[in-house]
């Protein structure tokens, strides 16, 4: 069943064409990634979905057009956007508070999840007292407790060091198997996309259009998979090839040879 569907979405900032033609869909319980070069317009796409910006084209959720009032998404921004003045517990309840849930009830709902998110014992800490990985998990916790129809994750691990990032990817894959969120993930890390996704949309450089849709038929759980190493690296190589040797962009007025 299709939940999110975009048809020919375009967006320009002034004279700058950012999104040229984006059509994509995300099914129920599906983990989909958008992979593209830096500056392609990936975050801009999320701005359109969350209503922070308006573009052209059609966007549907469960078959009805997206408007500013439908609250379908739990959105995790590119930087963790934790509020430095709120303790971790109060940061994670933020979305519930905005929904009008009483602070006490919101805390009761979030508290049991702290252990699962590796944050037990840090409820009373301020964000500045946490490491980068912990901050990202807190931001993720704040996102998932909103219990919206779908997660929008904008490069959740982009700012982490390689070791922490790998650990976090494994953890997220495991969490996803458990919860089966419908999720759309933005990343420019090829391995991350292949490791986590059911499907991947590869974006061209700006002005962005979708140059390829790739299914990832690898079995789950993936964290343990050594057997699929060959298949994994084949898919990764295919994506890298698309990204590093782009076909001439039909939407670019100037056209570009390399990236």
């Amino acid at each position: 069943m299709r939940r999110l569907e975009l048809r020919h979405v375009r967006k320009a900032f002034g004279g700058l064409d950012v999104l040229a033609d984006i059509s994509l869909s995300v099914g129920a319980g599906e983990f989909v990634s958008i992979l593209g070069p830096s500056g392609a317009g990936k975050s801009t796409l999320f701005q359109l979905l969350t209503g922070a910006q308006h573009g052209e084209g059609e966007m549907f959720f469960d078959g009805t057009p997206l408007d500013d009032h439908g609250r379908h998404f739990a959105f995790m921004p590119q930087r963790d956007a934790l509020m430095p003045w709120r303790r971790i517990l109060d940061n994670t309840t933020l979305g519930l508070e905005v929904q009008g849930i009483r602070r006490k009830a919101a805390r009761a709902r979030v508290a049991p999840l702290f252990a699962e998110f590796g944050l037990a014992g840090f409820e009373r800490h301020f964000p500045a007292q946490l490491s980068g990985g912990m901050r990202q998990r807190a931001a993720l916790l704040r996102t998932v407790v909103q219990e919206r129809d779908m997660l929008l994750l904008d490069e959740p691990f982009g700012a982490l060091d390689a070791l922490t990032r790998t650990a976090m990817q494994r953890w997220l894959e495991q969490m996803w198997r458990h919860h089966r969120w419908t999720a759309l993930l933005i990343t420019h890390d090829v391995r991350e996309a292949v490791f986590l996704s059911d499907r991947i949309y590869v974006l061209s450089a700006r002005p962005a259009c979708i140059v390829r849709e790739i299914k990832v038929p690898l079995p789950r759980p993936r964290s343990l998979g050594r057997a699929d190493a060959l298949q994994t690296s084949t898919i990764e190589a295919e994506i890298l090839d698309i990204l590093l040797n782009p076909e001439p962009n039909p939407h670019s007025s100037k056209g570009h040879d390399h990236d």
Binding site: T50, G51, A52, R71, A74, F75, L94, Q129, L130, S131
Partner: protein, 274 residues
């Protein structure tokens, strides 16, 4: 709370002294140089009294000084409370209705270019020798730094926090209360510290232009009676007042922004999770 903060908290006076030591030594040396010059250069005490004489006279006249400091303190605090409320109200107005900003800011800026020497007598002329003109002048000199700081602070809100809150379903008022106002706190306190140093001076200026009682009028009378020692004693009192108010703002900031101190402590977390 972690160990580091409690060990400092258990010896607050000692740690304060250590921090203040350079300032105390510098002021002490300056006073010493002044004392030596006043004693040995042969300058008349009616021209430049030695600090020891200023202190001695301050002690002898302490009742008059305290008596005159009270109206000054009252004018300072009431005027400051007014300007604080006005700055908050206007900053919010300007934040919610952007076009107002372009309309009002030139007026505010002009208000800051008015020379106090010229304005103070006029305000006293219009509103008399009572408390009102003092309050107005204190408000006039302290209002702008706080307003600018607040408006700038709202603007410093991380754009992604705003986007996230709106995606959560928060309206403008919610976004303001949850994100813009707390984001502005460090800016606000910076503005507050600047403002508070103008406040006492503003009150004294107003009194200088005409008052029944107050440090300003006390200074004027002492000067007319050729008593520079008493002028300086009153100056000392006003400096002490400003220092106390400044200290209070620092204390207030600590209480209002506990996360700032937490940020100084080591990030937690070890092992593969880091």
């Amino acid at each position: 709370m972690p160990v580091a903060s409690s060990s400092v908290a258990s010896r607050p006076i000692a740690s304060l002294l250590v921090k203040a030591a350079p300032a105390i030594i510098a002021v002490g040396l300056m006073l010493l140089a002044w004392e030596l010059y006043a004693t040995y250069s042969g300058i008349k005490p009616t021209t430049l009294p030695a600090p020891s004489r200023v202190f001695e006279q301050a002690m002898l006249n302490r009742e008059a000084l305290v008596d005159n400091a009270i109206p000054t303190i009252r004018a300072t605090l009431i005027g400051f409370a007014f300007s604080l409320s006005a700055a908050f109200a206007l900053s919010m107005l300007v934040d919610f209705f952007r076009p107002l900003r372009r309309a009002l800011f030139p007026v505010f800026i002009v208000s800051q270019t008015l020379p106090l020497v010229a304005i103070a007598p006029l305000v006293v002329l219009w509103f008399g020798f009572g408390l009102v003109p003092k309050i107005m002048l204190v408000a006039l000199v302290t209002f702008f730094p706080m307003l600018v700081a607040l408006v700038q602070g709202y603007e410093a809100t991380e754009a992604e926090i705003g986007q996230m809150l709106r995606a959560m379903g928060a309206g403008r008022w919610r976004v303001f209360m949850l994100a813009r106002l707390p984001s502005a706190l460090p800016y606000f306190f910076a503005g507050l510290r600047i403002s508070i140093t103008y406040a006492v001076v503003g009150a004294i200026f107003a009194e200088y232009a005409g008052a029944a009682k107050g440090l300003g009028i006390y200074m004027l009378n002492a000067k007319n009676n050729f008593r520079p020692d008493l002028v300086l004693a009153a100056v000392g009192v006003s400096a002490a007042l400003t220092l106390i108010l400044f200290g209070l703002t620092v204390l207030l900031q600590r209480l209002a922004m506990p996360w700032e101190r937490a940020a100084g402590q080591q990030p937690a977390g070890t092992g593969p999770w880091r």
